[in-house]
């Protein structure tokens, strides 16, 4: 049979392929993705700006009276800026500490309370300042430090537990003061942080003064502790590859400052327009940091990465034995427990398997304190991981227990053992051998799932990586180092379990005369 061939006339075929090439070319040239140069932005008719609505007010947040609407002084600033460029503004959501990564493809600029720092000056283009902030210490009305100076001495409960936004200037401020008796705890959102302060998990929080003032009437139990301190300016980030866009944004900001539109905007948001203009007109240039060599990078970051790897190991090694014990108990209960217990345990497994680990951690960490069961983050992380994995382990053990022949159980019973003695001495030891490989692979999976705990402020390896990657801008190099660290932890585990498995197998075949 003759093979099928597309047999359109030559002319038509050429036309079709040329049309295809033209279409692709048009898509590439005429519809440039975000992260494009000024001309492309104007052609597109849209300035895509990135921010994190979870960061909260007064910057960018959902209007409480209309949760479909995004409001905030930066939303208005972005609109003004786009108007200056003759285009519309389009919002792009991103995680706050990762916003600059969006400049590659998804956004033209980042406008979200990004503080000007030497590292950012080096890695991205920072616009002229558009806002001047100070830091503010917040505490509960009845307890906590009186001012930032009080952090230099330990509090009544030892080191102060102080919440900050991850990757913010507040976090850097606390970390750069080794004399402070402070454990900074990173959050993704201001409201989460203030809730935890209210609930007693934190002793205090440090944030930009405008955020503290904005949230003041939402948290009547909290107070500003002492006067604002330190501080700096906010900048609009653009990619180094788009100098003309950066220039246009600088020029637009200059015009908005000069003709008073920015002051009007700040006054409307009650952000001390006059004082802002006083700072912004004379904001000092912050020099860019020198680029770092690889050796410097490794020697500077490795100790931090290693200590975070230790946290990863702690999380995994503390939670997995608990998960195994609980899982085994659940599996035995479902197969051999009283009849009323079996559907209860089945429900336990389905709920824990059917909901995301992240949500379970949130519930343990953010919801339990509301009913008076505050748990430190590390405890919540270990309990959460153990609960989540116990559901999976119980299913593995259930299969393992069922794989042990019933005759083994009968043989044990026939010797006069009780049901529990038979399980303990005959059935479970055999089931453990059967499930060794899947349990090991789950342990390795748990090792990596520990990274989810960063959502409840536990700083483990992945979190440390992302913070370091952003502060140094060396995303790829640090990713390799981090991956090597993960491999260095999980590879020996695989080897260990294979060795253990083989040892058990060999023992069962040993002639042993």
């Amino acid at each position: 049979m003759k093979p099928w061939r597309w047999s359109a006339p030559r002319g038509a075929r050429g036309l079709a392929s040329r049309a295809l090439v033209a279409a692709v070319a048009w898509l590439v040239i005429a519809l440039p993705g975000p992260g494009a140069e000024l001309e492309a932005v104007i052609k597109r008719g849209e300035l895509v700006w990135a921010a994190d609505q979870e960061g909260g007010g007064p910057h960018v947040f959902l209007d409480p009276s209309d949760p479909t609407k995004l409001v905030g002084f930066e939303v208005e600033l972005a609109a003004l800026l786009a108007e200056e460029l003759g285009v519309r503004a389009r919002f792009q959501q991103g995680q706050w500490d990762r916003l600059p990564l969006l400049l590659d493809r998804s956004a033209d600029c980042v406008i979200n309370g990004i503080e000007t720092t030497p590292e950012r000056q080096r890695d991205w283009h920072c616009s002229r300042p558009y806002y001047a902030y100070s830091l503010q210490l917040v505490a509960r009305r009845d307890a906590g430090p009186e001012s930032v100076e009080a952090l230099a001495a330990a509090g009544p409960g030892g080191r102060w537990r102080v919440g900050v936004l991850t990757g913010s200037a507040a976090e850097n401020f606390l970390r750069e003061r080794p004399g402070f008796e402070v454990d900074p705890i990173g959050y993704d959102g201001t409201v989460d942080c203030l809730e935890q302060l209210k609930g007693g998990v934190l002793d205090a929080a440090v944030m930009d003064d405008c955020i503290a003032q904005f949230n003041d009437d939402r948290f009547p139990g909290l107070r500003g502790a002492g006067r604002p301190f330190a501080g700096g300016t906010y900048t609009i980030l653009t990619a180094r590859e788009t100098p003309r866009l950066s220039e246009a944004i600088d020029a637009a900001l200059g015009r908005m400052i000069a003709d008073g539109r920015l002051k009007t905007l700040y006054d409307r948001w009650d952000l001390s327009g006059r004082q802002q203009m006083f700072f912004l007109r004379h904001a000092a240039e912050i020099p860019a940091a020198a680029p770092q060599g690889l050796v410097e990078l490794v020697s500077g970051t490795l100790p931090l990465l290693l200590s975070s790897a230790a946290m990863t190991i702690l999380l995994a090694c503390a939670s997995f034995p608990l998960a195994i014990l609980a899982g085994l108990a659940v599996a035995i209960g479902r197969l051999h427990g009283p009849l009323w217990l079996r559907p209860v345990l089945a429900g336990y497994v389905e709920i824990l398997r059917g909901t995301p680990l992240l949500l379970q951690l949130y519930a343990l960490f953010f919801l339990l304190p509301k009913v008076g069961l505050a748990m430190p983050a590390l405890g919540a992380a270990i309990v959460g991981l153990a609960l989540n994995y116990s559901a999976y382990e119980s299913e593995i053990y259930r299969a393992g227990l069922k794989a042990v022949p019933w005759a083994q159980f009968e043989a044990a019973l026939a010797l006069g053992m009780t049901k529990w003695q038979s399980l303990r001495h005959v059935v479970v030891p055999q089931a453990v051998r059967i499930v060794m490989p899947p349990v090991t692979s789950d342990f390795i999976a748990l090792f990596k799932d520990t990274s989810v705990c960063s959502a409840i402020t536990v700083v483990e390896l992945t979190k440390r990586y992302s913070v370091l990657a952003l502060s140094t801008g060396r995303i790829a190099e640090l990713a390799v180092i981090t991956a090597v660290l993960y491999m260095a932890m999980s590879w020996p585990l695989s080897l260990l379990s294979r060795w253990f498995e083989q040892r058990l197998e060999n023992r069962d075949k040993r002639p042993g005369c």
């Binding site: 043989a411 053992m417 005959v426 075949k509």
Partner: protein
Amino acid sequence: MIDIDCLVAFRSGNRILDGVSLTVAEGTVTTLVGPSGGGKSTLLRCLNGLETFTAGSVTIVGHRFTAGPHSPRDLERVRRDVGMVFQQFNLFPHLSVIDNVTVAPRVVLGKPAVDARRKGLELLERVGLGRFAAARPATLSGGQQQRVAIARALAMEPRVMLFDEPTSALDPAMSAEVLDVVGELARGGQTMVIVTHDHGFARRAATQVVELIAGQVCRVGTAAEVLDESDKK
């Protein structure tokens, strides 16, 4: 020693035992013979409560079972006094031979490990496997495994031993090893109930032979009385 009265048992709707009555005296060997599906194994498993029955009663070493589920405490008490050997040996593969033999005395009777081990080694010598104490069951031949299973049951010093087709999974040479051990026990006065297809063995060792057909006792008597009649057919 054992008194079975009008036992009736169903399995998935089929009447497996249909009014079986039987008496076993202390120190005797009873063999249950008959075609497959006749109810021999079910009857044996009713004696130590691995199976329940619908009507009738079983009195064994002073305990009385009636119809329906048995209480776990009764079962544990009876099983301490009644040993069982299975067709497929059912040794515990994760334990060494000596641990197979000593696990029940240690766990059930709370015997000190040293005593259990001394007794266990003695039993292994008795079944001719003393030098395999440290081996794993998987490395032993079928005949050796079945002898370990016998030693394991004997370690509980049972007053009655039940054998469920102990040689059916074995070739003739291995069967002979196992039957030698069983014959030895018979001479020592061990009360035993043995399900078997081996008429030769039944003739040599049995005090009483019971032929079960379709869940009913067809013939009871000495080996000669029952087997001559049955072999004629």
